[in-house]
Subunit: 211 residues, 2 copies
């Protein structure tokens, strides 16, 4: 997909995601054209950064005009892969897992929880508020293959996270969103994004402590 | 607190938080001494990075020995501010907010949700599984002052996030963990950590799309 040779820096993708969200808001507000400066200011980056990030994928701005909102949004969605639906499978259906599987901001963006797994016999067969029925982890591989699940979300306790990840990898699922407070190992080609609640809180605590 | 002049880079604090969690695991496993190489490998950084991060705060390692687990952990906890309890106030008690307020990995590390606020009259007065009773947002300033709440957690819908942040800032709360999918503005001196679920998912989607 990238035009330039070599790997696109992960920070560029993180920023493209941010640009997309600001562009979605502009589109909702029926803004058709946005200047480079205005978009940069909305995204809290400088205009050169946006240009630099986009050059990996082509030429998008119009000199003296800026960016056409709908066109740029369409292109960024295509680059990231937001022009389609992704099926997600959840492993670990505690309070946090339940809230995540039913969080409507995910489905709004095309991330659809299609299956949920737990190893607690009392939970198997029960229905989540969003309608998903909890399956036993023994069904994980078969269900993920059947439903074409490509992203796994792990919300188990820390000590079960690696096991959950190994199971997902064997499907094979090649993208994992990890909510468990544990570092997990994956083979090459599998991407893990860890939502590090503790790291965020620790930075806030340090901010208050170091004043 | 830092020994060197100037501000400690945020990335250093993020890594200190990571070192602390690996050291906590080593302490639980009754490991008393850890070599610099071993700790670095557990944290997936290089040993020089650990040394560099720690020099902001003093001399911790012992040449030819490595680090005393309990001593280094004690020092890092003190640097970050994990040697005490922090009171948190939650704004927005939906499914996600409820799960977060009751998430035991927070309280284990000294982050204690002490109050929860919502503007839905049907929720006011109801009790969360963790025992918190939901208060109206009109009570936020008084309750936060009374309970010495220093960190705010925002789990409102995107369009209410700025309002929640403004209210917290007026307490004044100077550290905010933002779960809402919105960019929020704060005055100088207030730190915001945004848990960017969409950014994480978009990076995973890109990983799958660009293969």
């Amino acid at each position: 997909m990238p035009l330039k040779s070599g790997r696109v820096p992960p920070a560029t993708i993180t920023r493209l995601s941010l640009y997309a969200r600001r562009l979605e808001e502009l589109k909702t507000a029926r803004t058709t054209v946005v200047s480079s400066d205005r978009l940069a200011s909305l995204c809290q980056v400088n205009p050169a950064q946006i240009r630099k990030d986009l050059t990996y994928f082509g030429e998008f701005g119009v000199r003296g005009v800026g960016y056409y909102v709908e066109e740029l949004l369409f292109q960024i969605h295509k680059i990231i892969g937001l022009n389609r639906v992704w099926n997600l499978g959840l492993v670990g259906v505690g309070n946090l897992g339940t809230a995540l599987a039913c969080y409507e901001n995910f489905s709004k963006r095309g991330y659809l929880f299609s299956a949920a797994f737990d190893n607690d016999p009392r939970k198997i067969g029960t229905k989540l508020p969003c309608g998903l029925i909890i399956e036993p982890v023994e069904r994980l591989i078969a269900t993920c293959r059947e439903l074409d699940i490509e992203i796994g979300a792990v919300a188990t306790p820390a000590e079960r996270a690696q096991e959950a990840v190994d199971l997902l990898v064997s499907v094979p699922v090649r993208a994992i969103l990890n909510f468990a407070p544990a570092q997990v190992q994956v083979p090459e080609g599998v991407e893990v994004a860890s939502v590090d609640f503790a790291g965020h809180l620790d930075r806030l605590a340090y901010h208050l402590t170091s004043r």
